[in-house]
């Protein structure tokens, strides 16, 4: 435990560096025609390089909305958002796609792998979109699949893999472009306890290797392993503290 605390301290950047994620007064309003729903009512959030942040909260609290905004899958209705120092507000759809490709790696609850192509090809996709040359791609994909322990399953299709293995493929895919941040939305939600623990272990390894992680979860067991827990309720952050204090 203490080693992780030390790590957190170590990875806290010097005052001069900009945080990976910097949100100021973020608002998000969904216009559903008759009713306007304010999903986020002014959120301030800073995430430094090397942090492992768990975002928790009941359903409908706005945590999925927050995740979409952090991942540049959606744009805020108000406030300022910088990812890696780059201003996100006002970017076009294609520019957002580019930011996602370079800066964010996604891990979804439902894996979202394309079912009919191999693990290798799934992991390769972001590299293709990012215009990485084929030779570099092949080496990178092989290295990543080795890293998540699926070096011998590269040619398997997702349907031929277990849930835990599929999520490992998804994690490898998230890391493909060396993103600034890995964003995981309920990564253990579709897994049994054993596989869930297993995937949790993969995330902890990533963190120890220096990745910046944001995990959205209501699995408190997973949240407690993070360095920091952000609790959101009714579109506002109600608590933001180191993990140990949440226990």
């Amino acid at each position: 435990m203490s080693s992780r605390q030390e790590m957190t301290r170590e990875t806290t950047p010097p005052a001069s560096g900009r945080p990976i994620i910097e949100m100021v007064g973020i608002r998000k309003v969904y216009d559903t025609g008759k009713v306007q729903v304010e999903a986020l009512k002014g959120v301030d959030l800073r995430i430094e390089k090397g942090e492992f942040v768990a975002i928790v909260g009941p359903s409908g609290s706005g945590k999925s909305t927050l995740m979409n905004l952090v991942g540049c899958l959606d744009t805020p209705s108000g406030g300022d958002y910088f990812i890696g120092g780059e201003k996100v507000a006002g970017l076009s759809r294609d520019q957002l796609a580019d930011v996602r490709n370079r800066r964010v790696g996604f891990v979804f609850q439902a894996f979202n792998l394309l079912p009919q192509i191999s693990a290798f090809e799934n992991v390769e996709m972001p590299l293709v979109f990012g215009g990485v040359p084929p030779k570099v791609r092949r080496a990178k994909v092989a290295e990543l699949l080795e890293r998540v322990g699926l070096g011998d399953r590269m040619d398997h299709k997702p349907t031929e893999l277990s849930g835990g293995q599929m999520q490992r493929v998804a994690i490898a895919r998230a890391l493909a472009m060396d993103p600034d941040i890995v964003l995981a939305d309920e990564p253990t939600g579709n897994l049994d306890t054993t596989s869930g623990t297993d995937i949790m272990g993969v995330f902890l390894d990533l963190w120890k290797q220096g990745s910046t992680l944001v995990v959205i979860t209501h699995d408190m067991a997973l949240a407690r392993r993070a360095s920091r827990i952000v609790e959101i309720r009714d579109g506002r952050i109600v608590s933001d503290r180191p993990a140990e204090q949440a226990a």
Binding site: A97, I117, V128
Partner: protein, 408 residues
């Protein structure tokens, strides 16, 4: 870059095997149905024309006669005599005249292997074959322009003449026969044909030589009769009148003198036939279009069924950083390739079916003729339908938020 795009395409087609297969199948099915329908239609039409046109393909046969009306101080009862030069002179003045050939006829003695056979011989020009449906048995040919200009001694034999002289098993092409003592090279034999009317003799009993050769050997100057073909059967009356007028000016007889120049218009029976064929083509066109619509519905249904699947896929790709333009561009290329494959396979299958179509049935319905243009157009239309059916859902999907698209 291109290699990358192709690789990506290959991967995508592979990733959607069922979708690709079904789409290709829909395209193949539609192409085969329409192509075969029209192929059999064209074959049947040709066969009908061939059977009805034993004597000739919408031709008029005309004989010069004696004038029956005094004209410009010249008395009646004059013989109208026409030369090749007359025909060539009036030819450009007659609108709607497609082909024309003079014909010099006589009964000759033909000698082969010391045996003598009486044969009716016609001196004609190469155009004669098209007009009178004289089709050579493979391995031989009809008269050509060089035979005419060089006055070659070559002969094209009616199938019965050839059989009488050479027997059944021998190929007469390349053999030499004697006509009135002059050697003639046999260059071709007529394919047996149905013929329900004739003048002089049946074609199976005739022999044709170049008109120039005929004239050189006999010293004949004036043709026995001539054959012409209007561009369309419906124009035969006008063409005949125009030709009569042109000849009457040159040869000085009254244009109204029917006896100076008599015409057998065989197109009369074709006039009904052309209306019938028009109706038949229209019928095929309608059935073909309906088949195409059914095929199009099939293809677009497949595209629609897979919209959800595609939407999710597009959502995932966008989340991973694919730009909407790239997604749509890829969709366009994908559709084009799938369409090309479907069309090619459909065309090949149509060709295959026509190739194995039993020849015993061809006698009745003709030989089906696959038209590459029809296959191309059919595939094109189906491709466009499929493309439109797939493009709009794909475009809406690419405009959705990736998160929404992924949850479809």
């Amino acid at each position: 870059m291109l290699r990358d795009a192709l690789l990506q395409l290959h991967r995508d087609l592979k990733s959607q095997k069922l979708r690709t297969l079904l789409t290709v199948f829909g395209l193949v099915w539609g192409t085969v149905a329409v192509t075969l329908l029209l192929a059999f239609g064209a074959g049947l039409k040709k066969n009908l024309i061939k059977q009805t046109a034993g004597l000739g393909d919408r031709i008029c046969i005309s004989w010069p006669g004696l004038t029956s009306i005094p004209y410009q101080g010249l008395g009646k009862g004059r013989r109208v005599r026409i030369t090749d030069e007359d025909l060539e002179t009036v030819r450009p003045r007659v609108d709607g005249l497609k082909r024309m050939s003079s014909e010099y006829t006589d009964g000759w003695k033909m000698v082969y292997n010391l045996k003598t056979y009486p044969v009716d011989v016609s001196g004609v020009s190469p155009e004669f074959a098209e007009m009178r449906n004289l089709i050579p048995v493979p391995g031989g040919r009809f008269l050509n322009p060089l035979d005419v200009s060089h006055q070659r001694r070559v002969v094209f034999l009616g199938n019965k003449v050839a059989e009488d002289i050479f027997g059944k098993g021998t190929d007469p092409v390349g053999k030499t026969v004697l006509f009135n003592g002059s050697p003639f090279l046999v260059i071709g034999v007529l394919t047996a044909k149905q013929q329900d009317s004739s003048y002089n003799s049946r074609d199976s009993d005739l022999a044709w030589i170049p008109g120039t050769t005929f004239r050189a050997l006999t010293g004949r100057k004036y043709l026995s009769n001539f054959v012409f073909q209007p561009a369309s059967a419906l124009e035969s009356k006008a063409v005949t009148e125009s030709l009569r007028a042109a000849l009457s000016r040159r040869l000085k007889f009254d244009p109204a003198d029917k006896e100076a120049f008599s015409v057998w218009d065989t197109t009369e029976q074709f006039q009904f036939f052309e209306v019938f064929m028009l109706a038949f083509s229209l019928f095929l066109g309608i059935v073909g279009s309906l088949t195409l619509v059914v095929g199009g519905i099939g293809v677009s249904n497949i595209m629609n069924v897979i919209v959800d699947e595609r939407t999710k896929e597009i959502g995932v790709k966008m989340a991973l950083g694919a730009k909407s333009g790239a997604i749509l561009r890829q969709f366009v290329v994908e559709t084009m390739i799938v369409t090309a494959i479907g069309g090619a396979v459909g065309f090949a299958i149509s060709l295959g079916i026509c190739a194995v179509f039993p020849s015993s049935l061809q006698e009745f319905v003709g030989k089906p003729e696959v038209s590459p243009a029809v296959a191309l157009i059919t595939t094109g239309i189906l491709g466009v339908i499929g493309f439109l059916a797939g493009f709009f859902p794909a475009r809406s999907a690419s405009r959705l938020d990736p998160v929404v698209a992924m949850k479809m």
